[in-house]
């Protein structure tokens, strides 16, 4: 089982390394979408500092939803997904490996870029730290939920919009606690409760989402 997990994970990482521009597109989207907000809202530092946590988190959410759409599409198109599901190991291994690969390729760059875009919004040092920490705990949740949505909408005509419609309501708790942590730190309070709840969400999602994703993959490829 570990061999299959590693094989799928390394294969996806290798594929991403061969198509570097594709892998960087979510990051570019993230930065561009965030920089639209000062243009739309106005450049007052006070306002920007106020909206920054929510803006960064919403953009991370949307960037993840856009990047997760092709998680299974390529494998389904060339038939490798069916072969993976035919393997004697449970499909949940495949689902988990794909989600980890997605997070390593698409989640990490967002976390690394977050402090930089936070500076654009004049966030303080502690707030930047909490932004990174909350994204570190929260983006895996988004990848896991996105993987479920991608498996459910596999091969559908309007898969992209549908995935976003399906996953966004489920991702709202992560958004609330993730952005809430930064707001709390910015207000000089402790964000420990937010981190704990984000961690709990991560554990619950990590336990449940791969199972649901595996079931969804079986339904979609039947």
């Amino acid at each position: 089982m570990r061999a299959l997990f590693l094989a799928v994970l390394l294969r996806d990482l290798r594929l991403a390394a061969r198509r570097r521009i594709d892998a960087l597109l979510p990051l570019v989207f993230f930065v561009v979408a965030i920089s639209l907000f000062p243009l739309g809202v106005g450049p007052e530092p006070q306002t920007l500092r106020h909206i920054a946590p929510g803006v960064v988190w919403v953009c991370a959410l949307l960037a993840t939803m856009l990047s997760v759409q092709h998680l299974y599409a390529g494998d389904q198109a060339d038939g490798s997904l069916e072969q993976l599901l035919l393997a004697p190991q449970p499909a949940v291994i495949v689902a988990a490996a794909k989600c980890v690969a997605h997070w390593l390729v698409n989640g990490w760059p967002l976390i690394v870029a977050a402090p930089l875009v936070g500076l654009l919004f004049d966030l303080s040092g502690p707030a930047l730290q909490s932004l990174v920490l909350s994204l570190l705990l929260g983006t895996p949740v988004l990848s896991l939920l996105g993987g479920l949505g991608a498996a459910l909408t596999l091969g559908l005509r309007s898969g992209g919009m549908l995935l976003i419609l399906i996953v966004l309501p489920l991702a709202m708790p992560a958004l609330i606690f993730g952005a809430g942590a930064v707001v709390a730190v910015d207000a000089g309070e402790s964000a420990a409760g937010h981190y704990s709840l984000l961690g709990a969400l991560l554990i619950a999602t990590a336990l449940g989402a791969p199972l649901a994703t595996a079931a969804a993959l079986r339904i979609s490829t039947e």
């Binding site: 459910l152 005509r157 309501p169 489920l170 709840l197 649901a212 339904i219």
Partner: protein, 250 residues
């Protein structure tokens, strides 16, 4: 019917079709009867509220709609899960038939809530925990409907919809509590809706009558829609073509 009422008989779409056809007019009758009674008590008998005037009367529709919206999601998830787990076609069709009615009640609850909020709080919408969760519930319904409508193969649509409905049902409490927590942190709205003043018994009676009317309406509409889904899916079977021939001949 030798050994009591065999409920599982109605798991067969053809039998359910006949049963639903028989019951639907009765549910319509109940809907109209209880709605008239409920509206009569609500508009004529119930007194004018001391603080809110006549505007409060929208709750006679608002509260039942909100109840139905939450209940129907759970019922939908239940039937979808049964249909998925036991390969029961009729249960999956029921789940499909319930979804639009549930979404309608959710929208109605939000809409009537806005109509109530404007005169009593001076705003159509506040980001209160209950309102926000109700809005997210509407999104969950829309996601379910969009997913099952996007999949052409009915079997896959039923199963994918069931998975989504169950995941949604598991998430509803998490979403509710996170929204509530978020709301208390931000303290944007200072309106307390939990501290309901003691209600006159006629008000309660009207709400109860309207709730029964909403239940009956949900049954009538869901049965009607389920019958349409049955006909559509079973169009290649003998009993549907016989029925169609009979209808053409008549």
């Amino acid at each position: 019917m030798t050994s009591g009422l065999r409920l599982f008989n109605f798991a067969a779409p053809s039998r359910f079709y006949a049963l639903a056809g028989t019951l639907t007019p009765w549910f319509w009758l109940l809907t109209v009867g209880f709605a008239i009674a409920g509206l009569y008590v609500g508009f004529i008998v119930a007194p004018v509220d001391a603080t809110q005037g006549n505007a409060y009367r929208i709750i006679f529709l608002h509260v039942p709609a909100a109840w139905m919206s939450m209940l129907l999601y759970m019922v939908m998830a239940f039937w979808a899960a049964i249909g998925w787990a036991f390969r029961a076609r009729m249960a999956s069709m029921m789940a499909r038939a319930i979804a639009p009615t549930g979404a309608m009640f959710t929208f109605l609850a939000l809409w009537t809530g806005a109509l109530w909020g404007k005169p009593s709080w001076g705003t159509w919408w506040v980001w209160d925990a209950r309102l926000t969760s109700e809005l997210i519930l509407l999104f969950l319904y829309l996601g379910y409907i969009a997913l099952v409508e996007a999949i052409d193969d009915p079997r896959r649509a039923d199963q994918a919809g069931a998975l989504l409905a169950v995941v949604g049902a598991v998430n509803v409490p998490i979403i509710y509590f996170s929204v509530r927590w978020w709301n208390t942190l931000h303290q944007g709205a200072t309106i307390s809706m939990t501290a309901a003043p003691k209600m006159a018994s006629t008000m309660l009676l009207s709400m109860l009558l309207m709730t029964i009317a909403c239940w009956a309406y949900a049954f009538a509409v869901v049965f009607k829609r389920a019958r349409a889904i049955i006909i559509e899916r079973e169009q290649h079977t003998a009993w549907v073509s016989e029925m169609a021939h009979a209808a053409k001949g008549a």
